[in-house]
Symmetry: C2
């Protein structure tokens, strides 16, 4: 269908258009890339490419611009992920190393990614459900009030203040804590509901009402936060690019957690850390039809914990962006595995 030269033309069009942000014509192509054919030949090829829907012209007698389909072909078959330079790698590493806690890791990551790609970076917090319990703490605050603190192996900490139905002595709280930790320690959060089911039975009868309250809050915490936390940075980079009008829509989409979740996409179970690219209209959110998303999973070890990525105009430098996303995902995984 498309011979090698036509593919080369498409690649050249994408590269030039990404670089210049202007429709690219046959003459300029023949000059800048050594395709060794004349503009006229290129025009013929472009006619074919256009007919097949890979490129289009904004108006008659303007150059050609890649369509979403064109970018897709480019990403799938015509480009290679561009690795970062050694200097960039070092910069990433040292920058991420300085983080003091999970919040800090995520914050640094999202900023780093935004700066590196000059686009909007999006990072999802490690999912609770995929993590394991590292510790459950019950902190008495007053006679009737305790704070529940849940610490996961990814460093994530959730806390809730709980109002007890009755006064409970500290020693009894301590006992409950010990029971909880003994049966939850190291287990997946997803298994917590099952594991705590019989906890009240193992307690003295008088403690059960309080325990029930606490457990219900604990389960609630797991459920509520399964709509994951997401942060982003680098919106200023949107202003620099085009997006003359659509900017409002893009910003609105970014502030919708749910939308962001869908953007980053589902975890692909077989190849968790693979790069996902969604181009323009491929993505499920209206209002972002002019943007592409490059995302990857990250996680400590072989466990896939969450996703991160960048969002930018469809007209983006895919090889470089993909390289940056992949690299950052790997480094974050390392950091999390180490802590």
């Amino acid at each position: 269908m498309l011979d090698d030269r036509k593919l080369a033309v498409l690649r050249a069009i994408v590269e030039d258009y990404v670089a210049t942000n202007e429709p690219v014509g046959s003459k300029a192509l023949a000059e800048r890339h050594n395709l060794n054919v004349s503009p006229a030949t290129i025009r013929n090829d472009m006619a074919v490419l256009e007919e097949q829907g890979y490129i289009t012209q904004p108006h008659t007698s303007a150059g050609r611009v890649p369509t979403d389909k064109g970018y897709r072909l480019f990403v799938d078959r015509l480009s290679q992920v561009k690795p970062l330079s050694a200097a960039e790698r070092r910069a990433i590493e040292t920058f991420l190393m300085g983080a003091v806690d999970l919040d800090d890791v995520i914050m640094r990551t999202v900023r780093l990614l935004a700066q590196l790609t000059r686009q909007v970076a999006v990072v999802q917090y490690p999912t609770l459900t995929q993590s394991t319990v590292r510790h459950v703490e019950l902190v008495p605050l007053t006679e009737r009030r305790i704070m529940l603190v849940l610490i996961t192996n990814t460093g994530r900490v959730e806390q809730r203040v709980i109002e007890l139905p009755e006064v409970v002595e500290d020693t009894r709280i301590a006992h409950l804590r010990a029971v909880l930790n003994s049966c939850l320690d190291g287990r997946y959060l997803s298994s917590v509901p099952d594991l705590v089911a019989d906890v009240p039975d193992r307690l003295p009868v008088e403690d059960r009402p309080a325990a029930a309250t606490i457990l219900s809050v604990l389960l609630e915490t797991l459920v509520e936060r399964s709509d994951e936390k997401i942060v982003f940075a680098g919106t200023a980079n949107l202003a620099g690019a085009d997006f003359s009008s659509g900017l409002r829509e893009v910003l609105e989409a970014l502030e919708e957690q749910v939308v962001l979740m869908r953007l980053l996409g589902e975890t692909t179970p077989d190849t968790p850390s693979a790069l996902t690219v969604r181009i323009g209209s491929e993505n499920p959110v209206s209002g972002l039809r002019r943007t592409s998303i490059v995302a990857a999973g990250y996680g400590s070890g072989d466990k896939q914990l969450a996703r991160l990525g960048v969002l930018g105009p469809t007209r983006m430098d895919y090889p470089v962006t993909m390289g940056a996303v992949r690299a950052v995902a790997r480094y974050v995984s390392q950091i999390l595995a180490a802590s």
Copy 2:
């Protein structure tokens, strides 16, 4: 200097300009506001106002536009904070009530404020230094590793993983925890450095190295987080308004924590919850010369904990914005006091 009518003219100019976003001329003024004088008279007044620097004209033969100084006068003497409607109050209350923890309170607050004012909302987390210690927890993770969790009376939780210099038994950790809590409970964070100074002396000699490590991390935590955490929302509202070019700068400023801190301003010790308005060039950040900030302090009880506010074009509806900021600050204070 400025008689009543001139002030009325200025007020009318501000109101009309805010409403229409177009330079307002003498004729339109005479028609829309019943000043009972002719356009010519208004022109004379406007000439005076312009000479004094309260208004200006974009170009000869255009209407007048308020200057920063004009807005300042308007805010100080010509306008009253507009209270919210009962419906709005109820909406705020119910929306904030649903929050489950501090993160959630802050998140809801910033969104609420953005939606209410249709501008960018900025909320600072309660300062650590003004808060008191509610509990210090030391959670053994492995033989050589413990997690330090610091809980404040505002519900804020800080955690750090600590690598110990040697293996320490859990019972000794528990002892240290007891010592720490007994001397820190209920105290201001700012006094923590003094209070923990003699803690090592009260421990068996063999525990001192570990204790020193833990204490240094604790102190570090206090210092590091004194550059406060700030969140914002509603950037999409910027796109709607003018800001044709400056938008990039504004977005960049918003992502700089330090800049935001300075924007919200210092706490005014005498009247902590008073509204602060910074108009255009009054604010210390270049790149935000076309924006105004309306901020207020909030805190539980009489304690001033942090600040919140909104940022928008100098051309904003000050009475309404101030009303919203004040109301939200009050409600947040209530919520925090209750928890």
